[in-house]
Symmetry: C2
Subunit: 554 residues, 2 copies
Amino acid sequence: MSLFSPLTKSSENPVLFAKYKPKVQAYRDALAAGILDEYKLPDELIPKKDGVDVTVIPKKFLSESEFAITESSGTDLVKKISKGELTAVEVFKAFAKRATAAHQLTNCAMQLFVDEGLQRAKELDEYFQKTGKTVGPLHGLPVSLKEHYDYKGKVTHAGYAVWVDRVTDDWALTVKLLSEAGAVFYIRTNEPQSLMHLCSNNNIVGLAKNPNNTSLTTGGSSSGEGAMAAMKGSVFGLGSDIGGSIRCPAGFCGAWGLRPTQKRVSMRGVASACTGVQEGVCCVLGPLAHSADDINLFMSAVIGGKPWERDATVIPLPWRKVSEPNIKNLTVAICYDDGVVKPTPPIIRGLKLAASKLKAAGATVVEWEPIEVEKLIATCGSMYNSDSASDQLTALGASGEPLAELTKVALSFGCGEKGTTTQEYQRLAFTRDTYRDKYQDTMSEKGIDFILTPVYVSVAAKPETVHYWGYTNLWNLLDLPNVVFPTGLKCDPALDAPDKTYKARSDVENYEYALYDDADEFKGAPINLQLTGRRWFDEELVKASKVVQAVISS
Amino acid sequence: MSLFSPLTKSSENPVLFAKYKPKVQAYRDALAAGILDEYKLPDELIPKKDGVDVTVIPKKFLSESEFAITESSGTDLVKKISKGELTAVEVFKAFAKRATAAHQLTNCAMQLFVDEGLQRAKELDEYFQKTGKTVGPLHGLPVSLKEHYDYKGKVTHAGYAVWVDRVTDDWALTVKLLSEAGAVFYIRTNEPQSLMHLCSNNNIVGLAKNPNNTSLTTGGSSSGEGAMAAMKGSVFGLGSDIGGSIRCPAGFCGAWGLRPTQKRVSMRGVASACTGVQEGVCCVLGPLAHSADDINLFMSAVIGGKPWERDATVIPLPWRKVSEPNIKNLTVAICYDDGVVKPTPPIIRGLKLAASKLKAAGATVVEWEPIEVEKLIATCGSMYNSDSASDQLTALGASGEPLAELTKVALSFGCGEKGTTTQEYQRLAFTRDTYRDKYQDTMSEKGIDFILTPVYVSVAAKPETVHYWGYTNLWNLLDLPNVVFPTGLKCDPALDAPDKTYKARSDVENYEYALYDDADEFKGAPINLQLTGRRWFDEELVKASKVVQAVISS
């Protein structure tokens, strides 16, 4: 089994795609029209060139109270709203301004409808004034949504040009549950063609930029959510992840993200090209946020809505209240190299800092020895393309849209367009299950509570360059939950010179490691890490991530 | 999609199989040698012909106290042992006698090792005498095991002649958990070739007989467990079910059986021909027992052992304590016909009796309208054979053993030997998930708590005749849990004359319905029914089944 099997098929058809261009333009026009004067960032505050940190801009145009509101945690905001100390409208307007600016600065939105959000915020205030009660645990919190969840009455295209005018007539269940809990919607965010890039390019609205350094990618595929989290344009956002799509943008943008264990958050009404259920590696929904506490709030609200009563694939595991662990009782295994692609200097610096801080705080720190990563990443890639990438090529071919470079890469994972026979596919699942046990048994035998790893080989990459997903999609295959969090460190050319002497062990490593070629170009890119816990024990992971991050970033 | 695609391939090889015959004979000799004089049923009590009810025989040779012990529930026995009112050895000897007789009368065993069971019972007694404590919630309970779970140091062949001398070197996890809870093992029970018959024939020890009428089949594939449950040769037994294999023998033999929701009971170390993981329809393990209370005891013990800590596929859903519902608060939907094969007169009699008793007791009774059953049964069958039945044909071909008639039928389900492409297979999973939602939504909309259906088209069938699994494997596909229970009724030629005027709607129905051709031949066959609940809510189902069965059998 190989990591890549290059694509030879093409679904491109320029003549056909010409018909879609006016529809695409109409979609873009609607997006531009969503930038309302009341919320707009003044033109003079928009940098003329890239390579800039735009996370500092909101402070320059938001009022003091707007800034304070948007810097607050969701946990605090909902408390204040429920005590009448803030209204949903006040909260909404502040976030709407910051989100609009975020979009102007990073192209993070696909749809902006702040007028609808304002209306909803007003209704929530009225309800509160009338009843003295909140509608739910997220009452009045502005929440951003990646685009590909069905949204009643709006277009849902899932990154495919062919669907750029396809209006969906119902809600994705998780979106509905967020709404029932009191969330306010006003923005749907950028995602790449095919939803399968750790980057953001697409033929609809184009690339999103990394707010920490606008020459770099946000990562993907919850690309716009990464930018929104870094810009604090929402309290939290709903992302999805089948190979790193929550964790990569959280990591690249310096935010928090949770990829929960599968089948805890509903996938009902989540759009994709799939005509079948590829259950070898399952996509999951989860939050990008600003803190572990807000991740906890998000999960407790979404799971508190008992999704299993309306989605037969969801397991009725309530979101349990667990305490924060004592750092002294934790054994953390650190992975400095997965054996396939060595992490670059800034990431190694982050891992070493983490190790020393954790040890100093009294945690037991051991080294994680990678287990057959290359085989498992090839397995995962082959599962993605087990149908010969047929569904994706069909959806792409339906408009004939040009294939983004990273779409071609994604369609080459594992078996690529060759696909698998059903027996091969079932054997991949056998491999998967064998190693799920192997990893769990190893953790049990060694007394390892959590595994700390890079999120990616390096910090945020240049656009359209990321090929290797192994630091994230290993965990999708194994279905172990992960929290990505900021260490507080950023790429610093003075400390993080590329190691040009390193001899790569393979072509794959040679390509990916060398992407980090000039530290100056990556300046300011956040150094995030990823904590991995036991399958189904997401609650313990989230609480531990709070403690571990506090130690590392202290 | 069709229900059957006849098999044209053959894996038979008489020359090759000739080499296996001595090994098979050795296996049979060992089984015969397992009938120890101390426990043996006197020859004069063994009927000379079939068509006999042998459930009445144990009373004729067991002592009064042995009979009382073996008629007791597991719940009572463990209580008495834990109070010192009974010893594990006393309990064991009584069951060992009854189990040995069960085997002599029905051919229900594949391996008998009562000497090892006695030794284990002695050790448990010593532990209790020394510590005053039991080792766990099943301390001293004799438990029977279907053959195909790995058993350390013993042959595990899973119904394939090629493995008749394959010693497994570890325990299946669920067997280990039962042992850790205090269970005593002494018998591994009969199962059909390929594990895919609702009957029992195989080339190793041959057919098992139905204790209620020895001309009829026990059903399968937990065939020996069905006979053991009817004969009360164990407190309960561990069966497995991917299409009806717990429920059919429980139903045919007049016992209780639970097919729990998947991934609650560990499948680690369960042998089969599979070289891959066919996760479209998952096999599950569960108990055959004498009461709802004992099912509850079994599940609470097995899940209480936290299988998820040792098997990464198991979901950490603890076995919850729930109360018995008030019958007046229950809405039960009754299915009189699945639209594919109409049930025969004794089954209709059972359903009508159930309806009237439930109504009289205050339950709300409605009629269940079948939803696309034929399509779903074809989907399920195609999933079974999605690998072109390749793994099974390989395992069968490895010894060249003759194919049992019902093996040929099983290999013809759905797509049969043609198999599916990976895309087709994934689309079958899409169909499955669509209807999982559809069934759940229907139950929610109509306020239906439970669905009451036949277990099979008819009562226990003649050997090697059952082709249609729709009344059981529909629920495997949908993964809704089921309890099968006795109504107390038995097939009565005076009441249950075949309906020869019925015009079948299809060839499939024509064949299956006509199997019930002469009521005299089915005399004494139990009329069991099947109660189906919500996915994952096995606890509520078990409690409701107790209440519902009590009403129906009163």
